[in-house]
Subunit: 337 residues, 2 copies
């Protein structure tokens, strides 16, 4: 498969143009693009511009509204529900996180549910927004079914990611953004293409049995057995049932569905202001101390250093800002031809 | 090793007496005992009455205050910091969760940090308090170092548990209470006694290398590789750095330390009121639907049913309420002789 290297600025320009051609206002096109290219820069290409074709199809067919009327309903001193009016999930999530940040700044905590949303890209973007405001960010979102519950043989929950962002003073924020599945399905496809066996704990075949043959994979497993399944359960409740939205196997799929149908996804956003618990300066300095002490911890064989969550992605970002972002041919053709 | 079976009521009576003999007021002795026997009933004996000897030693030596002046400082509309005055952690945690519940009932969310606390027993108890009030509960607490960070060779974080409680309407609440280590160290000791090998991912030896020999285990691993390490990081920040308390390797150990020294632990408590996001009835009914659908999901080979988080412990509780609680001889002698 051919790859094309483009700079993040070229890539942004093309995505903004595509969004605007599909009727998205310039401001929203900029935000959605920033979320997508953020993922590409961090090496999380599965959540980057490879999804553009999907978004444009949905926008064109009406399953995503290009000019939604997003409404924020404050339901209590620190809680809100954001109705996304079936707009781009990136825009709905951005608005919801802004609201959570505003609440946390003035009241210590902000907890915001988004409804009538759609695929919002990488959660890391939104927890980073909180961390840039010297707040802790926490975001959860369920996804369509594809992962086997612990003790089960066919899929129930999705890859259900959860993300946290923590600010520091000298160090960049610590960003943990992880699926509650073992790995992304894309990694299985990658092993298949290379003719390699996958680790036995990654996935199951059509009979629900663990398999090391990537071509026999039917569903993924949750990471860490019953504990990862537990975390996926937590994500589904916070990000959908809490807002009265569809959960588990009832979540509408991203692909193969009617592009004119909105997915009606829900998402959960929270920001916490450390100054309501301790002095912000002390918090930020202790975060630095924690990061520094992990960095100087003695590494295991085969590791050069202990890294904090999100650090491999941050290193990838530094590289790609300079060297550019590799795009598969199909994605390149869609955006640049 | 001999085991002695006692009823939960006998066990409670003896613990209350022991606490009161050490100067703990009757009301507090009842609460702390209830937390401990709750763990024994659920089969989580590591967090039950086997810890009594430790608490009594600390109470006697002054490292835990028998009659603390616990102070609740409200810091914002939904946030408080509870200063436990080095009292029994169970009492401090109970007070902190009460405060979080009160805030969530009237304002949608309650977020409470406890400082100057001590070992508080099983977190499941406190998230269940929230669930019994038709609220979501979330509790985190760091523990003294003993687990190797991902990519490291010696211990940094502790077993850092995190717990969630979710209410339902027809079903009992779903209680997820999990360490972010692979398993408890007690399980390694158990394998050693039985002369069995442990799975390679559980733990490392003195050189930081994975080992299957339970007698060579020096430190535990986090569950699920980098992801479980990430969750342990989250727990340490929320439960200690957020309150300006000691983190990671700086947390005072439970054993082998000066019993006259308070441990100055911190803990994090949160309650969320679903009625601020959707209708409570709809929330509770969807929780039931989620639980029911998981129960009727097709089980994998070797499993009779898919269970929801905390269900094995709930089944153990039903059994032990009837059949009694097995105590190791040393624990029995300490409490009953």
């Amino acid at each position: 498969m051919n790859e094309f290297i483009v700079s993040h600025n070229e890539l942004k320009e093309r995505c903004i143009r595509k969004f605007m051609d599909a009727g998205v206002p310039e401001k929203d096109a900029n935000i959605a693009t920033d979320v997508l290219v953020h993922a590409n820069l961090r090496g999380v290409d599965s959540h980057g511009t490879m999804r553009m074709e999907h978004y444009i199809k949905k926008l064109t067919a009406g399953g995503i509204h290009a000019t939604p009327t997003i409404q924020v309903r404050e339901t209590g001193p620190v809680t809100s529900v954001v109705d996304g009016d079936d707009g781009l999930g990136h825009i709905v999530a951005y608005r919801a996180m802004e609201e959570a940040i505003d609440l946390a700044k003035t009241k210590g905590v902000g907890m915001v549910g988004a409804v009538n949303s759609s695929h919002c890209g990488a959660l890391s973007y939104f927890v980073e927004m909180a961390a840039e405001n010297r707040l802790i960010g926490m975001v959860m979102c369920n996804t369509d079914s594809g992962v086997v519950p612990f003790g089960g043989r066919s899929s129930f929950f999705g890859t259900n990611p959860i993300a946290y962002g923590f600010p520091a003073k000298r160090n960049p924020p610590v960003i943990l953004d992880m699926a509650t599945s073992t790995v992304a399905f894309g990694k299985v496809m990658d092993y298949s293409q290379r003719g390699k066996q996958i680790p036995a704990e990654w996935a199951v075949d059509a009979e629900g049995r663990s398999t090391t043959d990537p071509d026999k994979v039917r569903y993924m497993n949750h990471f860490g057995g019953a504990k990862g399944f537990g975390m996926a359960f937590v994500v589904d409740v916070f990000s959908s049932i809490l807002m009265g939205a569809a959960f588990g196997p009832h979540v509408k799929g991203m692909y193969g569905a009617d592009y004119a149908q909105p997915r009606k996804l829900a998402q959960f956003f929270c920001a916490v202001n450390p100054s309501y618990f301790t002095e912000t300066d002390r918090f930020l300095e202790q975060m630095d101390q924690l990061i520094d002490e992990l960095h100087t911890a003695e590494p295991a064989e085969g590791f050069s250093r202990v890294l904090v969550p999100g650090e491999p992605e941050m290193m990838q970002k530094e590289k790609r800002l300079v060297e550019g972002i590799p795009l598969p041919e199909a994605v390149y053709r869609f955006l640049f031809d």
